[in-house]
């Protein structure tokens, strides 16, 4: 399995590298200026990508924490709690990411007034909320699914050993859930990272906005093509290892 993993990864990386190399090669011979422009802009693009990564990480932390709390309510024996979480989950799972980003960008104020002080409410925080809310719905659903995927016989065995419901969750159910939750949780993270490319639309200075600024200021079609190619490659290099790792983990828990 490790071998196959290696082969598959190697093929993907080779393809990607070949594409990039071909692009760079053609550019290097015919558009040497575009290439040097890209090299010039690369540090700025990378710092833009770092913004995307930061937004994705903070949104994921927010989504995970909120999602676990909601997930806790979604397995509660109290029916109204379950119903409320269900409405929340259905609402956010069926809302397009871009719409939520616009919504959060405009619904929250520019500044917050609290206890006589003024706090800025920066755009990146708004998009973090916009990305974190749907992520929390996904995480809540993953949590509920994982808890319910543990056979009822595990609950019975724990009950028969006189463990309480809370003890059963803590010592028996949740430890088994965490392993099962990891792959789908990482899928959510990859999806969020991709969605961070949308935040440029509400003016956050991310890698996509940076590439746009670069293209406009250069005013050259060949450079525009090259810079967006670089973006595709950058996102790929960040997301692909994560999704590969997810696949590996999925396989591992499948065979357990």
């Amino acid at each position: 399995m490790n071998n196959a993993w290696f082969t598959h990864s190697a093929v993907c990386y080779t393809l990607c590298a070949a594409l990039l190399a071909a692009g760079l090669l053609s550019v290097a011979t015919s558009w040497p200026e575009a290439t040097s422009l890209l090299i010039l802009w690369m540090p700025t693009l990378l710092s833009g990508l770092w913004v995307n990564i930061q937004i994705s990480l903070v949104a994921m932390v927010l989504g995970t924490l909120l999602g676990l709390v909601l997930g806790g309510f979604s397995i509660s024996p109290v029916r109204p709690f379950r119903s409320m979480v269900n409405v929340y989950v259905q609402f956010f799972r069926n809302a397009p990411a871009l719409v939520l980003i616009y919504f959060c960008a405009y619904v929250f104020p520019f500044e917050l007034y609290f206890a006589g002080h003024t706090f800025p409410f920066p755009d990146w925080v708004k998009v973090v909320i916009g990305l974190g809310l749907p992520a929390s719905a996904q995480v809540a659903e993953i949590f509920r699914g994982a808890v319910q995927s543990i056979p009822a016989t595990q609950w019975e065995a724990a009950q028969s050993l006189a463990l309480s419901r809370i003890q059963t969750l803590r010592f028996i159910i949740l430890p088994q859930c965490l392993r099962r939750m990891l792959p789908p949780w990482m899928n959510v993270y990859t999806a969020i990272t991709m969605s961070t490319s949308l935040v440029s639309l509400v003016g956050v200075n991310d890698v996509v906005l940076t590439a746009g600024i670069a293209s406009n200021s250069a005013g050259r079609t060949d450079f525009t093509i090259l810079s967006y190619t670089a973006l595709v490659v950058l996102f790929f290099l960040y997301c692909y290892p994560i999704s590969r790792l997810t696949r590996v983990l999925e396989k591992r828990y499948e065979y357990k």
Binding site: T153, A157, Q159, S160, L161, A162, L163, F171, Q176, K256
Partner: protein, 282 residues
């Protein structure tokens, strides 16, 4: 159901001394009636086996005893606890701390080692120190001949080994009573013996046991009393000799004939024609 009443009436009233007492327990899942009035008594130190065809409600009787399922009607007492009146989690917990339950599918916790499976509840529920619980666990594991696999995970063990660990896990709570729910039914034939040996040892130590089993010869060997259930009712109960050698009820005889392939002495009482009709009537 005259037969049922008749059999009950002939029994000396054991209820006052019984550790376990079930009276007129009725249970339905939706429209399906599973138990239609179960009366059952287990005295302290006794081994009671419940036998009968699949789907006759044998396992459900055990589940009622520890509140894993709640009957719609009936009286269930274990020791001083009136199980049918319990509602709170803490009350059930207090009951279950004294009643061991061993499942057909072992139901070990797959993310914990054998040792961790055995010490979890003694530490968390009984409040033993980790050292005490570990010492107790080692003693029990050597009793079930699993002392070599203390650090193994359940997934690394055979079915028979897992079931022996599951028995040790139940015993780690030092229960007054152990319920065995078809504990050998999921095992490969060559592993049945090792699990039965463990139960046999337990019986010889005087543990009160209720066994739901398809192992007729084992039930006959270890039991003080046998209950034969069919379609949610106790058809007949008595000493192993009575049930296996001289069953009063033609249904019991027919069942034993099918499951033992043994000639049960019923002809003298009912005549072979009668028994044949019974079998066809099913």
């Amino acid at each position: 159901m005259n037969i049922n009443n008749h059999v009950l009436a002939t029994q000396p009233g054991p209820a006052e001394k019984a550790l376990v007492e079930l009276r007129d327990v009725h249970l339905a899942f939706g429209d399906t009636e599973v138990l239609k009035g179960i009366d059952l008594f287990v005295k302290s130190g006794q081994v009671v086996s419940i036998i009968g065809p699949s789907g006759s409600g044998k396992s459900t009787v055990l589940r009622c005893m520890t509140g894993l399922v709640r009957p719609q009607q009936g009286y269930i007492r274990i020791g001083d606890t009136l199980v049918h009146k319990l509602h709170r989690e803490r009350e059930f917990s207090a009951l279950r701390a004294h009643v061991g339950f061993v499942f057909q599918q072992y139901n070990l916790f797959p993310h914990l080692t054998v040792l961790q499976n055995l010490i979890l509840s003694p530490v968390r529920v009984l409040g033993l120190s980790k050292a005490e619980a570990t010492e107790r666990a080692h003693a029990l594991l050597s009793k079930v001949h699993m002392e070599q696999r203390v650090a193994a995970y359940p997934g690394e063990l055979s079915g028979g080994q897992q079931q022996r660990v599951a028995i040790a896990r139940a015993l780690a709570m030092q229960p007054e009573l152990v319920l065995f729910d078809e504990v050998t039914s999921a095992l490969d034939p060559e592993m049945v013996g090792e699990v039965l040996n463990v139960i046999r040892d337990l019986v010889h130590e005087g543990m009160t046991c209720v066994l739901v089993t398809h192992e007729m010869r084992f039930a006959e060997e270890v039991s003080d009393r046998i209950y034969f259930t069919e379609a949610g009712r106790i058809v007949e109960h008595g000493s192993p000799d009575m049930i296996f050698q001289k069953p009063q009820n033609p249904r019991t005889a027919a069942f034993l004939r099918r499951s033992l392939g043994r000639d049960v002495d019923t002809e003298s009482r009912f005549g072979s024609v009668c028994v044949e009709t019974e079998i066809k009537a099913e």
